[in-house]
Amino acid sequence: MHPFQYLAPTTVKEVVSTLSRYGDRARCLAGGTDVLVQLRGGRFEIDALVDVKGVPELMELRLGADGLHLGAAVPCYRVYESPRVAKAYPGIVDSASIIGGIQIQSRASIGGNLCNASPSADSICSLIVHDAVARIAGPRGNREVEVAGFCVGPGKNVLRKGEFLVSIFVPKPAARFGAAYKRFIPRNEMDIAVAGAGASVTLNAKGKIVAARIALAAVGPTPIVASRAAASLLDREPTPEAFARAGDIAALETHPIDDMRGTADYRVELSRVLTRRTLAVAAERAKGAK
C-alpha cells in the first residue's frame, strides 16, 4: 500500500483547505467501512486520509422544528437508537438498521454511504423518498443539492475539488406520511443488495394517496427515481392492485446490468416485487402516522 498521511482537522474550513490542497490524492474518512476496505483492496492510491469525525458539525444529530439535521459522519446506530428519529423517518431507519451488522453500524455513517455513491447503497433510496438534501461546503462557500441528484455514476458524486459533505437535511414529513426501504439479498445478513426499493406515500384525510416517491437501488448506475411509477399512485387508494401496477411501471424504469450479484433480468423482476412490497409497508405506516 502506498504510504499516506492521516489528517484530522477540526473545522469545516480546515477540511476544505486540506481537500483543496490534495485534490484527488485525498479522501475523507468517516466510519471508514468503505474507504479503508477500498484502500486496502488497491482500488486507488492516496497521499492523505482526512478524518472528518473531529468536526463538530459532522457528528451532530438534531431533530429541529424544520426537520432532521444529520451530520455526515454520524454512525448508523445513533440514527436508529433515537426513538424520535425512528418515528418520524421510518425509511431512513429501515436503511440504517440493515447496513452491515452491529459492528459496521457502530462506525458506518449515512453520509459515507451517500458519498460512496454505490448504486447498491442502502440508505440513498430512503433519503430520496424522504426528500433529503445534501449540504456541501467548499472553497467557494456552501451549497445544497437534492440527494436525488447527488450521485452521478457508480462511485461518483457531484462533489467538486475541495468540497465535502457537511450534513444531510431531511424535511419534517407531512401528516399521514409513511416510508419504507427493502432490499433483496440471497442470504439473511451480510450481503449487498441485488436490488432495493425505497418508497414513501402521503395520504389525505380520506385515505387517498396525495404524494408518493419511489427510488430503486442496484438497478442502474445511480439510485433511480421511479417517478412514473410514483405518479401512477396519485389520487388512488393504497390498494394491492395500485401497488402492483406501480411495481410493474417501476420495473420499466430500471437500467440494470449483469454482474456476480445478479442478472439484469433478475434485477428487473426484483424491482417489481420490492416496489410493491415496500409501498405496502409505507402505506401501512402512513395510516398509523398522525
Binding site: D191, M260, T263, D265
Partner: protein, 779 residues
C-alpha cells in the same frame, strides 16, 4: 439423539462431553496461529500473482524491485529446481512434485489467474507490496479453457504442453484429459432392458471453496548449520516437511515443521503453497521470512473443490429394484492433474447394491486453480447427481424415497460398484433411523405466506474414511496425570477425542490427560488430519500407548507388592491383586511411587491403519421458497449418520452440523463466479456467499452407532460423510416444493425464480420442468 445398535460395554470417559483441552486458550485468544508468529529481524514476504488465467511469460525483470530500499530478497520460478515427475501421497490427495513446483511459482507459463510469478521479502508488508509493483512482467495471453466441455473438445488449447494423459487406450499426448478410469460390472444394457422406469439426467456443478477463516501462512527460518524451521497452518506437518524436503532437495531430517493452531482446513490445508517460498526467500535474505495470504489469493490461488459435469442413468423394475446404473463424471482438476473424480466415482453408487453398473471418470485440466481436498472430496458432486436421479426413479414408481433407498441399500458383503466388498456398514440402520426421525414424521406445515411454497427432500451420502499412519507419546506424571504428545493437528476437537481414548484405557478422567500437538521433531510420523481418520487412527495410537502404560504400571505395582505381575488385574483405574483383596492401588497411587519403582514411565503408540469403516449420512431438508424472488429458506434439517462410536458426542454432532451447513451453502449460493477470461469476480467473503448463522436452522442430529470392528471402541470417521447428501437433499426438496428438478448448482434465487417462471432469467434454462408425475402424498 443417539441410537446404539447393540447395548455396549459401559464406558467411563467415552461418550461423555468434557470441555476440550484447548478450549480455554481459544476462547481467551491465547492460542497461537500462523499470523501470530513474530521474531526479531522478521521480514515480510509478498507474492506477485498472474493477472491472466493463461499466458506465456515473455519477460520477467525483478532488478528494480531487488534494488528498492528495504527489500532483502526476490525470487522467481528459476529459484525452484525443476523436479522429476514423482507422485507423493499428501493424505487425501496425490500430488505430482513436478507440477507442485510449477504451482508454487510459474516457470515460463501461467496457467490460472493468481498463479505466483515472483516473490519478495522486505522489512515490512507495505515495502514488500510496493516492491512487487516494480517487477516488470510481459505476458502473451493464451486462449483459456474453463470448463470440462471446452477442455475436452477436439482442438482445445492445451493447459499443459507436457501432460501425458492416462487414457483407457494407454498414454496420450496433446490432451487436457489427465486420466480416464472406468469401473464396469455386469451388463448394463441387459439391466436397462429389464427396467420399468429409466431416468437419465446431466448435472452441472460450479467450483466451490472450503471457506476456512484463516488464510494460508508460513514463516521460515534457517540456522547457520543448514537446518530449516517452518511454522505453518497445515493439516499435516509431516507432509509439509516431506514435500519441502523434496522441493528444496534437502534431507527431511534437516527440516522441522511446527504446525500452529489451524483456523479451518476442510482439506484445503493439505497442499503446500507458501512454505517453500518462505524458505527460499529466507535463505536468500539471511533472515526469517513470513508470508500470509490475503483473502483474494486464498480464493484465486488455493485449492477449491471442482465443478464439472455428471451424467447419471438409473433403471429400476416395477417392484422398485434397481436393475442397472451408469455414471459419467467429468471433474475440473484445475490447472494441474488431480481432481477428486476418482473418489467421486467410487462413492457415487456406494449406497446401492447394483447388479449391473458402469462408471466413467475423467480428470480434466482447465485454467483454474488446482483443486484440493474438500470434505469427502468429489462425493458431494456425485451424490447431487445420483441422489437426484434416484429420487426421480422412486417418484415415477410411486415409491416413498426412503423406502426405495432401503429396498436397494448396500449391506455388509455387497460389492461396491468399483470393486471392494463392504465390511460392516450402517447404511440400512441409518435409513431406518431416518424413517423414524422426528422430522420425517412431522408435517411440513402450511407456507408462511401465500406466495411461498414448501417442500421436503431426502438424500443419502457415503464416504470411505481413511486410516494411515499416526503416532502418540504418553508420559506419566507423578501426580497421576498423563502428558500426551500426538502428531495430529487438532481440527474440530481431536485433542479431546484422542485424549479421551487414552483416559478410558487408563481409568482416569479426560481432564487428567494433557494433550499437545507435536511437531516433526517431537513425535513419530503422523499423516494429515484429513480423511476423517484422526479420532480413528491417532486415537488408536493413543489406545496402544495407554495399554502399554497400563502394562508397565502393573509391573510397578508388582514391584511395590513384591508379587508376580500375572497376579495383578487392572479395572476402572485400579490395580488389584487377584488373590489378596487388601492389595489395591489406584492409577494415581502407583504414579506417586514411580521414583521408588524404577523412575520415569512413558510409552509410545504407532499405527498404520486400514479398515476405517465407511460412513453413511442421510439428511432430510424442509425448505420454503419465496416464489416471487426465488429465495430458499431452510426451515428444518436432520442429519442421520452412522458414526461407529461417538467418543465425544458434542464434537460428532458438531461435525455433522458443520458438514450439513457447508453443504447447504454449496447448494444454495456458493460459487466461483467467472468471466470468460478466467477471472473470478467474487473473491471476497462478501460476494462468495457462504451461509451465516441466520441462514441456517438448528440442525438436528441422529447418531447411529454401528461400531467399526477394526477399532477397539468401534470408531468410524465422522467429519466428511455429512457434506455428501445436502446438495441433493435441497434439490429434492425444491422438486417437492415447486415440481421442478434442478440440475445445476448453486440453486441460487435467480436460478430458482427462472425455473418458477419457466423462462431463462439466468441466461440458460437449467432446470428441467416437471414431468407431470403425481406428487407424493406425504403431509
Amino acid at each position: 439423539m443417539t441410537i446404539t445398535e447393540k447395548p455396549q460395554q459401559q464406558y467411563k470417559v467415552i461418550g461423555t462431553r468434557p470441555i476440550r483441552h484447548d478450549g480455554l486458550e481459544k476462547v481467551t485468544g491465547r492460542a497461537v496461529y500462523g499470523a501470530d508468529v513474530k521474531f526479531p529481524g522478521l521480514l515480510w514476504g509478498a507474492v506477485l500473482r498472474s493477472p491472466h488465467a493463461h499466458a506465456r511469460i515473455k519477460k520477467l525483470d525483478v532488478s528494480k524491485a531487488a534494488k528498492m530500499p528495504g527489500v532483502f530478497a526476490v525470487m522467481t520460478g528459476a529459484d525452484l529446481v525443476d523436479l522429476e515427475s514423482k507422485l507423493v501421497d499428501m493424505g487425501e490427495e496425490i500430488d505430482n512434485l513436478a507440477y507442485t513446483t510449477k504451482k508454487l511459482m510459474a516457470d515460463d507459463k501461467v496457467v490460472y489467474k493468481g498463479h505466483p510469478v515472483a516473490a519478495v521479502a522486505a522489512v515490512d508488508l507495505n515495502t514488500a507490496q510496493e516492491a512487487l509493483k516494480l517487477i516488470a512482467v510481459a505476458y502473451e495471453p493464451l486462449p483459456v479453457v474453463l470448463t470440462v466441455e471446452e477442455a475436452m473438445a477436439p482442438g482445445a488449447p492445451l493447459v499443459l504442453d507436457d501432460l501425458v494423459g492416462e487414457h483407457l487406450t494407454g498414454e496420450a499426448r496433446n490432451t487436457n484429459i489427465a486420466k480416464h478410469t472406468r469401473y464396469e460390472f455386469g451388463d448394463t444394457a441387459k439391466g436397462f432392458a429389464r427396467a420399468a422406469v429409466t431416468v437419465e439426467r446431466t448435472f452441472k456443478l460450479t467450483m466451490v471453496h472450503q471457506g476456512y477463516i484463516e488464510p494460508q501462512n508460513a514463516t521460515a527460518q534457517w540456522n547457520q548449520d543448514g537446518k530449516l524451521t517452518v511454522w505453518t497452518s497445515t493439516q499435516g506437518a509431516f507432509n509439509v516437511r516431506d514435500a519441502v524436503a523434496s522441493i528444496l532437495k534437502m534431507p527431511e531430517s534437516n527440516i522441522r515443521v511446527i504446525p500452529l493452531e489451524i483456523g479451518g482446513g476442510f482439506g484445503g490445508k493439505i497442499p503446500i503453497y507458501l512454505e517453500p517460498v518462505a524458505a527460499v526467500l529466507a535463505r536468500k535474505a539471511g533472515r526469517p521470512v513470513k508470508l500470509v495470504m490475503d483473502r483474494k489469493s486464498v480464493f484465486e490461488a488455493t485449492g477449491p473443490t471442482p465443478g464439472g459435469t455428471i451424467r447419471v442413468k438409473v433403471g429400476a423394475d416395477s417392484a422398485g429394484n434397481i436393475t442397472a446404473a451408469e455414471a459419467d463424471l467429468r471433474y475440473e482438476a484445475g490447472a494441474y492433474p488431480g481432481s477428486p473424480v476418482g473418489a467421486g466415482a467410487q462413492c457415487i453408487f456406494a449406497p446401492y447394491r447394483l447388479p449391473n453398473s458402469r462408471i466413467d471418470a475423467y480428470d480434466v485440466v482447465v485454467n483454474k486453480p488446482k483443486t484440493a481436498a474438500y470434505r469427502a472430496p468429489g462425493a458431494t458432486q456425485a451424490a447431487f447427481a445420483m441422489e437426484s436421479v434416484v429420487d426421480e426413479v422412486a417418484e415415477r414408481l410411486g415409491i416413498d424415497p426412503l423406502e426405495f433407498r432401503l429396498r436397494n441399500a448396500s449391506r455388509e458383503g455387497d460389492r461396491r460398484a468399483d470393486g471392494p466388498i463392504f465390511p460392516r456398514i450402517g447404511n440400512v440402520q441409518v435409513l431406518q433411523a431416518a424413517k423414524r426421525s422426528a422430522q420425517w414424521n412431522a408435517p411440513l406445515g402450511a407456507p408462511s405466506a401465500p406466495h411461498k411454497k414448501r417442500g421436503r427432500g431426502v438424500a443419502n451420502g457415503f464416504w470411505f474414511n481413511g486410516g494411515m499412519k499416526s503416532s502418540c507419546n504418553l508420559a506419566v506424571n507423578k501426580d497421576g496425570t498423563v502428558a500426551m504428545v500426538e502428531g495430529s493437528v487438532d481440527i474440530g476437537g481431536t485433542r479431546a477425542s484422542i485424549a479421551m481414548q487414552a483416559a478410558e484405557v487408563l481409568g482416569i478422567p479426560a481432564e487428567d490427560v494433557h494433550p499437545t500437538v507435536g511437531d516433526t521433531d517431537t513425535v513419530g510420523q503422523t499423516d494429515v488430519t484429513g480423511g476423517s481418520r484422526t479420532t480413528f487412527a491417532t486415537g488408536y495410537a493413543a489406545y496402544l500407548a495407554a495399554t502399554n502404560v497400563v502394562k508397565q504400571m502393573m509391573g510397578r505395582a508388582a514391584k511395590l507388592w513384591e508379587i508376580d505381575e500375572s497376579g495383578i488385574e487392572f479395572k476402572d483405574g485400579t490395580f488389584f491383586s487377584k488373590s489378596d483383596p487388601e492389595l489395591r492401588l489406584t492409577f494415581k497411587q502407583v504414579a506417586e511411587k514411580l521414583d521408588e519403582t524404577g523412575g520415569p514411565l512413558s510409552a509410545t503408540g504407532t499405527v498404520n491403519m486400514r479398515g476405517a469403516g465407511g460412513a453413511f449420512s442421510t439428511q432430510i431438508a424442509d425448505v420454503e421458497v419465496d416464489t416471487e424472488t426465488g429465495k430458499v429458506d431452510v426451515l428444518r434439517w436432520t442429519v442421520v449418520q452412522d458414526v461407529g462410536k461417538a467418543i465425544h458426542p458434542a464434537y460428532v454432532e458438531g461435525q455433522m452440523q458443520g458438514g450439513a451447513a457447508q453443504g447447504i451453502g454449496w447448494a444454495l449460493n456458493e460459487e466461483y463466479f467467472w468471466d470468460d477470461k478466467g477471472n473470478m469476480h467474487n473473491s471476497s467473503f462478501l460476494d462468495y456467499r457462504m451461509p451465516t448463522a441466520l441462514d441456517l436452522p438448528k440442525i438436528e442430529t441422529v447418531l447411529v452407532e454401528v461400531p467399526n470392528p477394526n477399532h477397539p471402541y468401534g470408531v468410524r470417521g465422522v467429519g466428511e460423510a455429512p457434506i455428501v447428501a445436502p446438495v441433493a437433499a435441497i434439490a429434492n426438496a425444491l422438486r417437492d416444493a415447486l415440481g421442478t428438478r434442478f440440475t445445476e448448482t448453486p440453486m441460487k434465487p435467480s436460478r430458482v425464480l427462472a425455473a418458477i417462471k419457466g423462462g431463462t432469467l439466468d441466461g440458460a434454462a437449467t432446470a428441467a420442468s416437471s414431468n407431470g408425475a403425481s406428487r407424493r402424498g406425504r403431509r
